[in-house]
């Protein structure tokens, strides 16, 4: 059933794309080279302001993480066992315990964060999302037209789900018993998350036009390729590439400028330009790596071809070796580039975010993140999954302890806002498809 597999992987790719488009991979373009941004809070004087003697000195408070891999392993395995034994129902409680573990072990100024979502709400979200996924899967197989309509509907709801997910995530996070919340509107969510995927979809339809209109993708013998279509496709792809960093910036801004802590609203003074710098460097890194990598693989392939001619037989190990080598080097390259973009945009966005008297300095480094990601995958595969908790704690610890909060004023002076309840459907969907910031 090759075709079914193809459909599945296509479906999966589309979801992965939504995820990547929706959240760009965040952090700061200068950290890769180990430099610090000019306006870093760490470089600013920490003298008390003369004009206002009441105001305290600016304090630099690093975030601390106290979770350990062993402790989290035990929570994780008990979670999994109980989830299986209850046929998935305990999954909602497991999720709350896991998230709460990471929140409660994150300390700022000696006080822990807290996670307050109710498992009942998450269970409801789980049931709705599981029902929707099964319905879409079932329809795709047996009633393709209905399935297609449902998939379109699911696609259109992604910005709404992200909007709900932001609200749920922040509303249920608290520090010093004051909850965070999200003030962004639904219209802005569609502006930030829907326009680019829509443009990408249109260009995809354009590329697929010959297939959709019924002509086969099998090349007709002797048929000349349509130059105009090819040119238009190239132009379209370049335009998409050129606007992508701007949308990555919109995604970040949507979250950061709408964050609020109690009655204290957040603000974001980031610009789109640095995002272009980050993505341009990423593209440059990819091109350079493709060039040298291609050269290397071409040379070894040539060597093998030479050996084949000499000995007259195909060397299976040689071909396996080259395939494995190329696969690992490209996996490494993509990990590095992804983490480079993530660290660059993430660092930049947090450095330009203010929450009243609070400012942030995040100094993630792409090579550290890539190393952590790559060794984590290796460890997970080699341990048949048993090191998943270790990998999660390790990455969380790195990201959390790379964050410094600068604070001028009175830590006791924040006020709470009115608390309301949030549904968990968006959160569940976003979590399931990993539409996540991971802060």
């Amino acid at each position: 059933m090759t075709f079914e597999n193809w459909c599945q992987s296509m479906h999966y790719d589309l979801l992965t794309n939504i995820r990547q488009n929706a959240y760009s991979d965040t952090l700061i373009y200068d950290t890769f080279f180990g430099m610090r941004a000019k306006d870093s809070i760490l470089d600013r004087p920490t003298r008390p302001t003369k004009q206002n003697p009441e105001e305290r000195e600016t304090r630099l408070l690093p975030l601390d993480f106290t979770g350990t891999a062993g402790e989290f392993f035990r929570i994780w395995i008990v979670n999994i066992t109980l989830t299986i034994l209850t046929l998935g129902i305990y999954g909602a409680w497991a999720k709350v315990r896991t998230r709460r573990y990471f929140h409660v072990n994150t300390l700022l100024d000696g006080q822990a964060f807290d996670y307050l979502a109710r498992p009942g709400t998450i269970l409801k979200g789980h049931l709705i999302v599981a029902g929707a996924i099964l319905l879409i899967n079932f329809s795709n197989r047996f009633f393709p037209l209905t399935g297609f309509a449902l998939s379109i509907a699911a696609w259109c709801s992604v910005p709404y789900l992200l909007y709900k997910a932001h609200r749920f995530k922040l509303r249920n996070s608290a520090y010093r018993n004051i909850r965070f919340h999200f003030t962004g509107g639904l219209r802005e969510a569609y502006k930030a998350y829907a326009i680019f995927p829509l443009a990408a979809l249109f260009s995809l339809i354009f590329y697929m036009l010959p297939v959709i209109s019924g002509t086969s993708i099998k090349p007709e013998p002797g048929a000349a390729p349509n130059i105009i279509i090819i040119m238009l496709s190239v132009v379209l792809s370049l335009v998409l590439l050129a606007v992508y960093p701007y949308f990555a910036f919109l995604h970040r801004r949507y979250f950061h400028e709408n964050m609020a802590y109690g009655k204290t609203a957040g603000s974001f003074r980031g610009k789109a330009k640095p995002f272009y710098g980050i993505y341009a460097s990423a593209v440059f890194m990819m091109l350079a790596a493709f060039f040298f990598g291609g050269l290397l693989i071409g040379m070894s392939a040539g060597l093998i071809a030479h050996l084949v001619i000499e000995s007259g037989q195909i060397s299976k190990t040689g071909i396996m070796g080259i395939t494995l080598f190329s696969f690992i080097s490209f996996a490494l390259l993509f990990t590095l580039v992804r983490q480079y973009i993530y660290s660059g945009t993430f660092n930049y966005a947090w450095k330009h975010t203010r929450l009243g008297p609070v400012e942030f300095d995040v100094s993630l480094k792409a090579r550290d993140l890539a190393w952590i990601r790559f060794t984590n995958i290796l460890a997970i595969v080699l341990s048949v999954g048993l090191l998943i908790p270790w990998a999660k704690v390790r990455r969380a610890r790195y990201i959390i302890t790379s964050t410094v909060v600068s604070f001028s004023g009175d830590m006791d002076a924040f006020e709470a806002d009115t608390v309301y309840d949030e549904g968990a459907v968006g959160d569940t969907a976003a979590d399931f498809f990993d539409l996540d910031f991971g802060w």
Partner: protein, 338 residues
Amino acid sequence: MVTTYHGTYFDGKSSRAHEVTFTIGGKALSIRGEIVCEDFDLGHCTLEPALGNTCRTLYTPGGGRLDTPDRDAFFPLEETGGDAGMFRLIHFLESRWTAAFGAVAITVLLILVFSIKGIPYLAEAAAFSLPEEVVNALGRRALEQADRFFLDPSELDEDEHLRIQALVDQFVSESGLPEPRALVFRKSPFGPNAFALPGYTVVLTDELVSFVEGDEELLGVVAHELAHMKMRHAARTLLQGTGVFIMVSVLLGDVTSITAAAGTLPALLLKSRYSREFEQEADAIASQWMQAAGYGVEPMIAFLTRLENKDLRTGGPEFLSTHPSVENRISDLRKLAE
């Protein structure tokens, strides 16, 4: 007896941390600090379940929060059972390595039982309860898509088609199969191949027809594919795939992150294992039909042997493959023939 504990109190209105002492007597909670003087009924407070080594947290009816490093301070709330009591038990399990090892053992056992017995059993039950029309529709759709993407019309003579169809019809009546099956002929870029689509359609490629030596070999291949259809292997493969997907999702909680990436390899191994089991089953049933029709298993063995000799692909190890190795298939066939 009333014990005094130390803690930190946040009133939920401002971010100010109050250093307090508190006492619990029966159902009464009294919190006292520099400017805090609050009394609550414990029955109206919400106790956060204990988690790892972190401090205990109690939410008061007015939205206040009381933290204490003393993990047993709120024991009176937990000993009454209910949710708090259940979480005390869960935390007890989470705190012990022996429980963790036990949980690993139980989890591995449950995953094995579910993947080896549970999923195939459920998929089989579901596949055989699908109405005939649905199965036929699945097969028609799959053939349409295959035609669009990689199959070309057959270039063999119409007479050859009719001859092979007649041969298969005769074989079907000889071996006691209930209905005649329609064959579909196509040209394929992937060389000699035959596949069964759901709903009684066997696709034969031109390359296969010219590759086999003698009609008996061709009948062996058709019998194998007919056996796939009789057992509804195609539909069961789809359903088992869904089952594996659900199991991995429940275990890992998502489908796209790093942990789910780790889930793809075991899922792949499991699906290849299912596929090999179906191939074995199809070989077994086909060999019975071949013997009933008087051809014996030798044509099937001859075909497999020649297919392997022709095949120059860099074949991976058997546990990664969708088909059992040819040696194993041949030795199984010989055993069945005895």
